[in-house]
Amino acid sequence: MGPETFETLVATHHGEIHRYLRRLTARASEADDLSQETFLRAYRAFRELPDDANVRAWLFTIATNLFRNHVRSEKRRSTFHAAVLAARSETAGHDPEGETVYRETRTVIEEVVATLPLKQRTAFVLRKIHELDYETIARTLDCSADSARAHVFQALRKIRHTLNGHDMAGMMAVRAAGRPGAGAPASEASEREVTP
């Protein structure tokens, strides 16, 4: 396995892994850093990877673990900084780190997904956005395939509960009309606040 092979791996999978992390994280810079770290770890471990390994699933697992660790350390940090940040954003009138929050352009689904517990959120994104099978999701989340299925089910249930009362057919139409060009992908516009 030479360097070319790893370059091919980057070319093939970077876009998807970045998109996955972008969907899970609050800020674009976090997704950039985590996807870089994912591939640097992969690079170091690449030569020990068996030839028949499922590279895509392997990368998702690395990315997911990094994201989970990131959330844990963010949580610890936020205990210290929450008060400071809140005070600053009130006085400054915008996001303290200069990240604009485009709430209005985010789809309702994305809003709900962002509030889901970690395992439900990752399981949902892995299954519904990246269409990984449940066995792979189970390995990624270190749980059984049944648990993975249950996480996705619970996520869908919560989304449905939240959307109860919304006119979903109308919503789809409005969203479609409200997004004129394909040049402005929703995920890029969906800067989020840190979700616990």
Binding site: P3, F6, E7, V10, H14, G15, H18, R19, R22, R23, A31, D32, S35, Q36, F39, L40, Y43, R44, R47, T107, V108, I109, E110, K128, I129, E131, F153, L156, R157, I159, R160, L163, N164, M168, A169, M171, M172, R175, P185, A186, S187, E188
Partner: protein, 318 residues
Amino acid sequence: MNARHSGCVAIEADLVAAATGEAAPEATRRVEEHVEHCGPCREDFGRYRAIEGLVGRLRATVSDDTEARERLIARLGDLRRRRLRYGVFPSPLGPLLIGRTDDGVSLVQYLGPEGDVRRSLLGRRPELDAVEDSLAVEAFYRELLEYLEGRRSHLEWPLDLRLARSEFHRGVLRATAAIPYGAVCSYAGIASEIGKPTASRAVAQALRWNPLPIVVPCHRVVGSSGALVGYAGDKVGLKRRLLALEGVMRAEGARVPRATMYVSLPREQCYCLPTCTWIPTADDPHRFFFFGSRERAEAAGLTPCGDCRPDLHPLASS
């Protein structure tokens, strides 16, 4: 949901699966039968279908990873240049580890008789990103073997001094690399050469941590009295062997016989007898190379001094 019939609760998982296209045919049929006569569940089924549609749209969105990808590729290029490829080879001095990066040879290490890489620098510094690749260093090994067998006097390899511990250490290693084959210089001489004439002990420390023994010939640096002093921790025996190989001293000697060696000054074109009037004794007495024989001095590109004429009056020992 709580107010619903228990049948609705029981079928909910299948209903979600059927609405999102994940149910087995049998479950789908059960769900279809159920929603036909259960209004609330029919509504839910419709909502899940709508959610599936909305999610499908999310699936189609892309994120612009161009900048992140470019940054990653730059980092990977950097890592690749730093990656240390190494091999372990047998030699007359025991197993030797030779490692290189894209920039040059970066590590030569004497392994114990068991040749255990885990006890080498690589074992202690896992962040070095080392990968065994004997082919990448085999050419270096062959030349090193020729040197150790006395068939080669120059190892003109590109050096990568990144494993040296500091810029000062790198300066010491560069000055040491300039000592010709078959010559010795003192620690004080190296200190003087790098512009720190009082730093002999620091020079000795820098050479103790030389990541490239043999290639950066720290064995050619001896005490001002000619004593061998030390080598690679406790391997003075190896130092003696290498100096004997280069014709500087006898294999059983305890010190380099400086008083009976030819002398040259760095950057000078000629070599002299130790008694030559050109050799300053009081002023900066350490910056000399001492050669064990005229052949070695001349192999280093030096010509006999026109005053003391070492060619006409060779030293008794040579």
